[in-house]
Symmetry: C2
């Protein structure tokens, strides 16, 4: 049975989408079957694979508004990564975004049914959430087994970690008693910057074993992903970003149960 | 009469809060009276001045829920910047965030009345919006004279500029016919990175005179702001980030009307 992990952060631009794309690719390259689900209306996940929001083919929006079934919305991401699939959010306007948020808030059962239908076919399901702690993220946490929080190695990102923990505890209390911590991932580390060292120390002190040992460095090749429309391992296996996401995938597979 | 400018981007981590704090400080240092308003529930703006969300003193949340008047929620930001004031959003939980969003959606008049009450006392009012195009941002655009869009010099940020333009046009059509473009600001430019040059070229080609000439470089001193709890000009006038925000303030004051 697949582990469903929500990738969550209230702070924007910390590497949620980059982690979904690149960790997903690395896990699938080590023989795991992985599904990525876009839950961020800006559609960064689908754009990372060249699949822009388009009404010619259905996505999560159509499934949750009961115009398509889950099987219709699963897409292959890359021909050299056959075990990596994607469900794009497929929201083409602010009006559709509002409709999706309304469905998630009022029909929690729909997302749950989708998750239960697809879960058996995968080892990992990674859900890319938007930078907010309200409905879309709460809905993802309500069906998740655990959550992964990217923490950019900058002061501004540290400050909101407490809000994420509080929001996850709320969901655990009200909707999903099994919700656990998958881990906190330090991202965009630049060892030359004074604040990077400080943030790493604080995260390790405050979050202890919940922080992954692997740290993702700032690597311009990772920032090329939205332009190359493929994960960094697919075009530069030797880059620092690729090596870090591969080591993260191995660290995850080396653990028995999640965090 | 003060110009009310909403700082908007669907992409997260592009420098919305950094621009509100640092551009606000520079405009106030050149003798303009400036008010910053936090509209992002994560509270990054107030944290940049050391004013965490606290229920000991009221903020925007209390004004919009009619527990306080606008005059009660204006705070001084820094003793050496006497012309820079701040209204913190003051949202302390996800439940309060939901309440605020509900008020903004159903009582558009309240924010409008607050804006009209405070506008005469300032030359510029900068509203720091969250990384989303739904209710909080739409409410800010509905009362704004114009909007400023930070565009991080990375591929992922370019991709959502079209969504911002579409969302602003919707608001212009339905709620605020005077809404104009204040400008598009290139941020975190790193001239060594190939994608920086490409994004600058594309923004200039696509947005022409709506793009500010001033470009904000990636500068670790700017990333120190949340830790030092003051704008970068207040602790390092000579840093590349300070010089860029000072030149941006001069470029804005040198124009007759907004773009
Ligand atoms: N390790 C890295 N090194 C360099 N750049 C990175 C790295 N990880 C992500 N980036 C870049 O940083 C920016 C932010 O990353 P990303 O979009 O994944 O963050 P996010 O948390 O999903 O943002 P949002 O809040 O918009 O959802 C993107 O331009 C991305 O390409
Ligand atoms: N010119 C710059 N040089 C270096 N770092 C910067 C610069 N501008 C902003 N930063 C840093 O980049 C990160 C993102 O900036 P900021 O928080 O202002 O973006 P935002 O768009 O407001 O993000 P959010 O989506 O969370 O609201 C922060 O850690 C900030 O300190
Ligand atoms: Mg994202
Ligand atoms: Mg911000």
């Amino acid at each position: 049975m697949g582990q469903l992990v929500a990738i969550v952060s209230q702070k924007g631009g910390v590497g949620k989408t980059a982690t979904a794309v690149n960790l997903g690719a690395c896990l699938s390259a080590i023989k795991r079957r992985v599904l990525l689900i876009g839950m961020d209306p800006q559609g960064g996940l689908e754009r990372s694979f060249g699949l822009d929001s388009s009404k010619d083919r259905p996505g999560l929006f159509e499934v949750l508004s009961e115009q398509a079934s889950p099987a219709d919305v699963v897409y292959r991401c890359h021909e050299r990564l056959p075990r990596l699939d994607l469900i794009p959010i497929n929201v083409a306007s602010v009006a559709e975004e509002a409709r999706l948020v309304e469905i998630l808030a009022n029909n929690a059962g729909r997302l749950r049914r989708v998750a239960e239908r697809i879960r058996p076919a995968y080892d990992f399901i990674l859900v890319d959430c938007p930078s907010r702690l309200d409905t879309p993220t709460q809905a993802a946490l309500a069906v998740a087994d655990s959550y992964l929080v990217p923490v950019q190695c900058e002061y501004s990102s540290m400050a909101t970690v407490g809000n994420v923990l509080r929001a996850a505890l709320e969901v655990r209390k009200n909707a999903n008693p099994k919700l656990g911590i998958f881990g906190f991932l330090l991202t965009m580390a630049d060892k030359r910057a004074r604040f990077t060292i400080k943030v790493i120390r604080e995260v390790r002190q405050y979050l202890k074993t919940h922080a992954f040992r692997t740290i993702i460095p700032r690597d311009p090749r990772v920032a090329e992903v939205p332009n190359r429309q493929q994960p960094v391992v697919a075009f530069d296996m030797e880059s620092p970003g690729s090596k870090a996401y591969i080591s993260l995938a191995r660290e995850i597979l080396g653990r028995s149960a999640p965090g």
